[in-house]
Symmetry: D3
Subunit: 242 residues, 6 copies
């Protein structure tokens, strides 16, 4: 089985961290292809960055035509619907993967993300997926995505404090980490918090494996039907959908 995991931003250190987390979560025999586009935003913080990340994401997916499943490794699930229209193999976002898994082990979970501007996109995703009713609250720790890449930053500590507030004030029974860049912090934070702390990258790898084993593929009826146009005018980093 071959899983193609795309970090839709252009920061290679984050891709490396995501790839490691994915490999740690994968069953033996599962091949992981982790990559990022070479054009687009260096981090995805809010709607504007999201929009410019999608052409590069699709381009990376196009380089893995033999993938059994695709994973979008940005917590906003950037371009998820476009990716489902593009591919025949199943596609899963790390945000939705974590939300689904959290709802199987806790009545209510809270999300701890980076900046306040990401709260609305995450809440809208929860509404789209139908899982907003299971989310106690989406919280921002006020840590920029790229601060998570800096050695020695105080980001982990700040996030840990926000998790304690979520337990105290929201009645959360589990925590979802709201950024792909937090993937390496989950285990430690769970030990401190005393409740499950979920990392979307690992959740997505396991769910993608499950989907492949089940032979599930995206329905092409209506919403995710293949695009009508065979090629688009112009240039998105050298990529034409096909």
């Amino acid at each position: 089985m071959k899983l193609c995991i795309v970090n839709p931003n252009t920061t290679a250190s984050m891709t490396a961290k995501i790839g490691e987390a994915a490999m740690a979560a994968a069953s033996s025999g599962v091949e992981i292809r982790a990559s990022n586009p070479d054009f687009g935003p260096p981090s995805i913080e809010g709607y504007f960055d999201e929009a410019f990340a999608v052409p590069g994401l699709i381009a990376e997916m196009g380089k893995a035509p033999d993938a059994d499943a695709f994973i979008i490794a940005c917590f906003d699930d950037t371009g998820l619907e476009a990716a489902r229209s593009f591919a025949r193999a199943p596609v899963i976002g790390i945000g939705e993967a974590a939300f689904h898994m959290a709802s199987l082990i806790a009545e209510k979970f809270s999300v701890v993300t980076t900046l306040a501007r990401s709260i609305a996109p995450i809440e809208k995703n929860l509404t789209k997926y139908g899982l907003i009713a299971r989310c106690a609250r989406v919280r921002a720790a006020n840590v920029a995505v790229l601060a998570l890449e800096e050695p020695g930053s105080s980001a982990r500590k700040t996030i840990a404090a926000e998790i304690l507030r979520a337990l105290d004030e929201d009645g959360a029974e589990a925590i979802v980490l709201g950024c792909a860049g937090m993937t390496d912090l989950a285990r430690d934070l769970e030990a401190e918090a005393g409740v499950p702390v979920l990392d979307g990258v690992a959740c997505a790898v396991s769910l993608a494996e499950a989907m492949v084993r089940l032979g599930l593929r995206t329905s092409k009826r209506n919403t995710y039907a293949a695009p009508l146009a065979k090629a688009y005018a112009g240039d998105f980093g050298g990529f034409s959908p096909s």
Copy 2:
């Protein structure tokens, strides 16, 4: 890995069918324990049967203290919350497993279940899980559960016709089969329908495997905390919770 799958009704032929489907869906090396209680209702059709199935379900779970995960093989997810309070290992119902998986491959799915009396419990479950917004409609094919066990019954044909109505009238992009007894029909029905047709038993096995690999366990904070009483007065078929 050891998965304990309990059919909460007392019909052994259905348990056998469920066990086969589970084994077909399981990864190699995964051990399946499929069983049913020897007391309780012969089929679960509506709220009354559900209530009387739970003590037996918990009793069967109690016989598998070394299970890595539990699966409740009734589409109503009978006793799901009680089971989550009872066990430390994760628990998943076949209804919720199918709903989550369907929402990852289709914008809208319809459910085709047996009798009209099961529509309300399924809709309430969808609301509890938060996924009602992704369900186009819950439909009853007017086939009793035990009719699915009769060789040569017309049940398959009736269900196939209901699936076509779901595609036509509901805008469904995928179909979820709403009874554990339909587990052997999924593949054929999918071929006819031309959209994904999901069987909860297979979905639950794959999801349970994923949860075990991820090390996920039910949160014991608040809702699913262990029961306060160590034993209950009286007799539920010889079982006391512990």
Copy 3:
């Protein structure tokens, strides 16, 4: 008119208290039969206890075939749907009775219950009944059900303090007491709070009387149709549904 009120736990002192409250609320000429099962949990605190209380509840209902209406005297409305499928006479839970009455005299009410594990079941009931929109918040006072039975406990004081928080923080215009064991506290707490404080036992008695006078009976179309099976294999404390 004969009302059968079942306390679904096995604690006789609570049944006595419930019976007294019911008699105080009943019109003259109304006969109250208050009882509890002799098997099952001593108190119902969360989903697990609920599940094991239902067979005993139905057994008690079966002993009153001439009842004009049934009342389930647990605030979780344990087994309400099963009971509606079982009986022809109307059935009402004390939780739902209090919610409906509160919504007739206040725009928003808050619920004060015992332990945090009961919040989720109560919220789900409110959602099922459709009344979640009228509930400002479900709060736990962190008092175990059986502490309410201990003479000289500080439970009343703790609950009074939680009520004040509900008025202050939630904008509640009325309070619903979230446990059958609080039935004797309502009048005093109302005097302190200065807003209506509703006890589910009294509300349920009055509503049950109203239903009997109106000749209302549970609809047997679809959801609450009588169970298909005439008897179940095995033993639930000597009871077979019939």
Copy 4:
């Protein structure tokens, strides 16, 4: 106990019919005062009529200062919130009374009202009360309110046909009659339909009795606080609030 029931339109024949239905539903010893304003609309069909009916409704309530409870006998629950702000005794509308009672005996009910223009006000009321989730559909039979007052009209037949469509198409398990003028038809229609058919007048009388016996009074905290102004400039048929 004294119940003041106001028909907020000016059609005396409808008031008489409502009064009779109320007396038939009342317990012995309950005194019914049924009246209507002498100014305002002859029937209430839609939002415009509703608005002009409220001053007269309040005026009639003002004539019964010793009432133990008030009933608003228009299915739109015309002026319900204003009436709750005006009175200290509890107030109930016949629409809300029927909705609450229906939700205690059926999972889903449909409403059959008169004209299409009344569908939106009824749906908005259901949303306000929180019970929209329990309503399968609000249907108009295309019968004007005053046609129900004409001897020999075909209204009953038309309504009966609409009820059958509700059972067939909506999955309704009970029917709520959506106009005070249908109060005399309930018993016959129930016999034909084979499911409970609820009349709001009777439901409101029984609920009002229940509220009085429970000592419930409208909360005066926030939403239903008494009006600040002691008198209004001008003339609403000779009435000043006090």
Copy 5:
């Protein structure tokens, strides 16, 4: 273009303030007719006042048969649906105007109104309009409407403090002022708050102009159909609908 703006209370100083704000917001060439009834409540604070304001509101509308659009200048949108049934020209309330505009420039807005009794009517309006999901919170500053008319009152300061709490606690990205009497404060409060602060009067004038330019008129199909009765019995300040 001629806009008829009705302040549905009888306080002329407030009408003058509203008229000035409307003229300041209007395009050149737009004629503003601002008036108030001479009967009804002096201020509208809660449901009771609302009900008594509608006949006078409609009477004022009836005096402007050549208006191209109508504006109801009470933040509760008093009588909006009745007014839409009465007129052929479009009608807009200042509450709904502000909500719609706020939702076009901010993901989440908070409302700051006068007294706690107005919170429920405003929340219900937001639900009716569908915009409740975009409203972070409706807050009361505990300032009576008529206090806004007193020179030298501390009302502005109190409202400014409530706005800061909305930014701090609700995550609001814009503020809607929840009373027509606050119309002259918007500009100053916006400067202090650093986020958009919307006044309903100005928003309604601009939206009404837009509707007139587009040739939009209230649909007379179903909900807002003209009333059936041509005149009502009795006296509402000398007005008969026509």
Copy 6:
């Protein structure tokens, strides 16, 4: 006043039609700049096309730094949130413009769009805007966007038939045309339908004018804050955000 209207697809004939409709709707003295990107999809039908249209849309907006407001002339409101993060001037989509306007003149509206794959994006937008509760149904007429550009096509007739079904089956009181390419059909279809038929282009022009007159600008607090990155790696048709 200068309005910049961007058709986010690359079909110039549609841009011309949109520009004409915009000019017809604009007040005198309002300058319209209508353009389309020269790279990206030729029509936007579903999620995939949407994603590839956003970089070009933003590029066109970047060419009009002096615009007082921006209009996105695709009914899916492609890239709306990204555009709001990019610009300081207000941005409005033609879909949301039509939804808001429709909700001011009708209780319920239906949308008639082109292909079934556009139903889900439109429904999700309605949910995001909060207006889904006011939409009776989103319908596809099964007409491709570019068929609307072909002279002599039967598209108009097909759409007219779908409108009649919406009136008949949905209880719609107004119709929203769900594609920028239908802008020239609105007047004729309204005459046939007998209820308001709204075109998003005209609605957006009028709303944008209103916003400019009111001095409204997108809140930069949280959700629509300016992007952190000053430039992105790579090439989106020669555009870097700034």
